[in-house]
């Protein structure tokens, strides 16, 4: 007999070896909490949405508004914020729309694709926020140089000692490093977080794709 047929025969015999679960036990299971990947993605995504939203809420205080005025950004920043809220709301809508398409009764490939798509939405959301953060940083830095009286004084003082272009170069490098470090750290955090969460799914999805080519 073919080896695989022997295996099939043995496989069928296994049925009698399983410890049967009673109805009461099944009832108990129905009310336990799921710990599925999708649930984790949902929790983490909601936390992310809230985290970025809270950044924009809690950083606004009187001092911040005064600084904006000083830098002549008091009209531009609120407009940027309004646009930003609109974009965030759009992302939240997209996320929940994708989340709802995740269905355990889809075929294996479809399910994986829907999960990856939902996760991608959050990834784009994070990228968008990082880009906006970097952009705001740059904007504030430029306007700081133009309008901050303290900085103007420092620049004047420095220009007596060293070439002003060299001073600007040094400041530019320092600011670039600060932005790059900030964005880099957040990027690393997400790589690790989603790397752990989606390692298995990614591997299995690649295996499925390999079959198709």
């Amino acid at each position: 007999m073919d080896e695989l047929e022997i295996l099939k025969k043995d496989w069928k015999k296994q049925e009698s070896s399983f410890l049967q679960i009673s109805e009461i036990e099944i009832y108990g299971m129905l009310h336990k909490k799921s710990s599925s990947l999708v649930k984790w993605i949902l929790i983490i995504s909601i936390l992310e949405l809230l985290l970025w939203l809270s950044f924009s809420f809690f950083t606004v205080d009187d001092q911040y508004l005064e600084t904006l005025k000083l830098y002549h950004l008091d009209t531009l920043m609120p407009i940027m914020n309004a646009i930003s809220y609109g974009v965030i709301l759009f992302f939240i809508y997209l996320f929940f729309k994708n989340y709802k398409t995740i269905n355990a009764t889809d075929n294996v490939k479809q399910l994986m694709q829907n999960i990856l798509k939902t996760r991608k939405t959050v990834q784009y959301y994070v990228w968008y926020n990082l880009a906006m953060t970097a952009f705001s940083f740059i904007l504030v830095f430029i306007f700081q140089f133009m309008y901050d009286p303290n900085l103007t004084k420092i620049v004047e003082k420095m220009s007596q000692n060293i070439n002003i272009n060299i001073f600007y170069c040094i400041m530019f490098v320092i600011y670039t490093v600060i932005i790059a470090l900030f964005v880099g750290l957040i990027w690393l955090f997400y790589r690790v977080l989603y790397g752990i969460l989606l390692k298995r799914l990614g591997k299995n999805y690649d295996e499925l794709k390999k079959i198709e080519f």
Binding site: E3, L4, I6, L7, K8, D10, W11, K13, Q14, E15, S17, F18, Q20, I21, S22, E23, I26, Y27, M29, L30, K32, K33, S34, S35, S36, L37, V38, W40, N103, A104, T105, D106, N107, V108, K109, Q110, L111, M112, I115, R200, L201, K203, N204, E207, L208, I211, E212
Partner: protein, 164 residues
């Protein structure tokens, strides 16, 4: 209060529980993980039950949700893996046969299956469950031709292990 659909679900699941047990045996390595996965599959099935219209068999539906949970949705908990226990559960089934050669082959086959990746395991599982290529391709979301090609490769891989 137990609702009518809850009672219906529990009844159906109880009758079809061996499908889930078999998936758990294939994808886990110890009894704790087995029970854990069983529970997660039950939860996923229950969550999807309102969409189960009864136009397909409960078992067909359970295969799909079960495999989806094992391959994609289930998050393994961190624990020390005890593989010895898993081998012995397979072994017990064949002991009453006293066919030493066959038993050795089975042991080799089962340990070879354990080495397969999650997708290959699903293919072997559906083959062992006598599913045709239409159902296999529908469950995994790949074409019938590709399912056949891949299945032959996996079978070849297993046979090679037995006859090096």
């Amino acid at each position: 209060m137990k609702s009518e659909s809850e009672a219906l679900f529990v009844q159906q699941l109880k009758e079809n529980q061996n499908i889930i047990h078999k998936i758990c045996r294939l994808y886990t390595t110890d009894s704790d993980a087995h029970n854990d996965l069983f529970q997660e599959i039950t939860i996923q099935l229950w969550k999807a039950f309102p969409n189960f219209r009864g136009d397909s068999k409960f078992s067909t539906w359970a295969y799909r949700v079960g495999l989806n949970t094992a391959i994609t949705l289930y998050r393994k908990k961190k624990r020390t893996i005890d593989t010895i226990e898993f081998d012995s559960t397979f072994h017990k089934v064949t002991q009453d046969e006293y066919n030493f050669e066959e038993e050795e082959k089975l042991k080799l086959l089962y340990s070879a299956i354990r080495e397969l990746n999650d997708i290959e395991k699903a293919l072997v599982f559906l083959y062992l469950e006598d599913k045709d290529y239409t159902e296999i391709s529908e469950t995994l979301g790949i074409s019938e031709v590709n399912a056949r090609v891949k299945m032959n490769r996996v079978k070849g891989k297993l046979k090679k292990i037995l006859n090096p």
